[in-house]
Amino acid sequence: MNDNIKQGATGLIMNEPLLWEKGKKGRIGFSLPEADVDAYPLDESLVGHGPDFPDLSEVDVVRHYTCLSQWNFGVDTGMYPLGSCTMKYNPKTNERQAALPGFANAHPLLPQEMAQGVLKMIYDLERCLADITGLDAVTVQPTAGAHGELCGMLIFDSYHKSRGEKRSKIIVPDTAHGTNPASAALCEMKPVAVKSNENGILEPERIAAIMDEDTAGIMVTNPNTLGLFEENIKAIAGIVHGKGGLVYGDGANMNAVMGIVDMGRIGIDVLHLNLHKTFSTPHGGGGPGTGPVCVKKHLEPFLPIPRVIKQDEMYALREDFPQSIGRLHAFYGNVGVMLKAYSYILSMGPENLKKVSQLAVLNANYIKEKLKSTFHLAYDRPCMHECVFSDKIQQANKISTLDVAKRLMDYGFHPPTIYFPLVVNGAIMVEPTETECREDIDRFIEAMKAVAKEAEQNPDLLRNAPVTPKLNRLDETSAARKPCLTG
């Protein structure tokens, strides 16, 4: 292995037991406030023994989690080219803003005149997102992409109901994220799959063949999960609208087209964004995120309540929208996440946000060009912010995508997304994002080439990978056969 390419190294990593394998009965890690009131009696039949928690000191807890954190790989550790996930740098100033005492300590039921600062933030963020997408109205209440999709499907359902219809089907392309059909199913709409064409995009004729008046609409990811722009989107939207349907846009890939594509103009009626992808808020090992939903004017009455409105330079929460789908969250969504995205957008400004998309697309196309002779490229066309390779060439040596992914860890990279989208066998989906510098991208390219070479010369190196992390490959089969979910 070439040490110039390989940055993965072994270091002193500590073993650390489970929380309840540590501590001593009687310890405490918490500074209990003074008991300055008398004890009051309570019917003892109601009282329990307290949860079976380990007793630990503050130092026990701090060391425990510090050790655990060192077994993780994050964006701050190194390049994380996980396709469809937009693992860009998460600016630290955003953390400072969200932790400001006014925001962090704000009770959600404060009288509205006492919460103007946070209401203004929500209002302004919604206006920014409307500008960025080209749509008219926005809710930031949904707390994740899947939650946004559910919101969108509820809007579809309510919209059709308002016209006296109940439509039972929805068109979902075969390249879609699994959340698309699952969200539609929650609204009792049956997903109808449609295949993309030999160029990896949707064909209007195929949509026309299945779109009917029992179909609520279509869910399209654009750019799609192959990293390709759906060029026929306007024609497709025309067909769907022609039959009274609506067009849903999964905006998971918005990082490719900010300041470039007008989602309203291309015929999207409802679109969700992922603040934890495009707008730099940290993924946190799987949340919390935020999945705002943007809509065209005629769908605004259906947005979830409460909504933040501006009246006479004051901001207020309003619930009197009789056609609204209702509430999706106990309060207003993940305000702590919104604050980070808002800080990011203001830090960037319009020009830099457009540049983000330009550089994200440049990086992806650069990787595609540099690697397409080493790894099979599923669709050899100009891509957007991500490109999809496969293990077709490596299969000759009985090396799979999984082996390539695991070996990349030894080189110090988080692997790309693998085995998705499903339409490409053994997919390797690379999304570098705009925040990776040229040297790191070149190093990633060299690592991929080195792994491909190893696949030919010493395939067992890949099959036994990774060897550098704390643990080797894990037995997922036993985990699923005899689930052990608590200790």
Binding site: E476, T477, A480, R481
Partner: protein
């Protein structure tokens, strides 16, 4: 994964297009998934079973079978009423991998129409289907 010529396809069972097998034992018919299905799915981690007494028509879904990263519906090769289920699979789903026609069987049914079995494929017919789909 196995090549087609490596598959174990016994002569004494009949096959469906959905890769289930059925074997008649007088009154009852025993049903499971064949070697091709278990090989395609890989390590089986869970089999979702119907209850004794449930009635299904031919091609109805009677359960599902799961590997770590895939799930497949189980289809009735013939219609009938479930008279027994293989409870060993609860704790040892790997039996489906180890012995798909033996200890890895799934259900026994009282068949609605015993001539239905004749509509299923013989080993030769099934092999031809598998080769055709390659």
């Amino acid at each position: 994964m196995k090549e087609i010529n490596e598959l174990e396809l016994p002569e004494d069972v009949r096959y469906s297009k959905d890769h289930e097998w059925a074997k008649s034992d007088g009154e009852t018919i025993r049903i499971g998934v064949d070697d091709y299905a278990q090989d395609q799915l890989g390590d089986i981690v869970f089999v979702e079973m119907p209850e004794v007494g449930d009635k299904f028509g031919k091609d109805d879904v009677f359960g599902s079978i799961e590997s770590v990263k895939a799930v497949a519906d189980l289809f009735m090769p013939v219609g009938g009423e479930v008279t027994a289920i293989n409870t060993d699979l609860e704790d040892a789903p790997e039996l489906v991998n180890q012995s798909p026609y033996g200890d890895g069987w799934m259900i026994e049914i009282k068949v609605d129409n015993s001539s239905d079995l004749e509509d299923l494929m013989t080993k030769e017919a099934y092999l031809a289907v598998l080769q055709g789909s390659e």
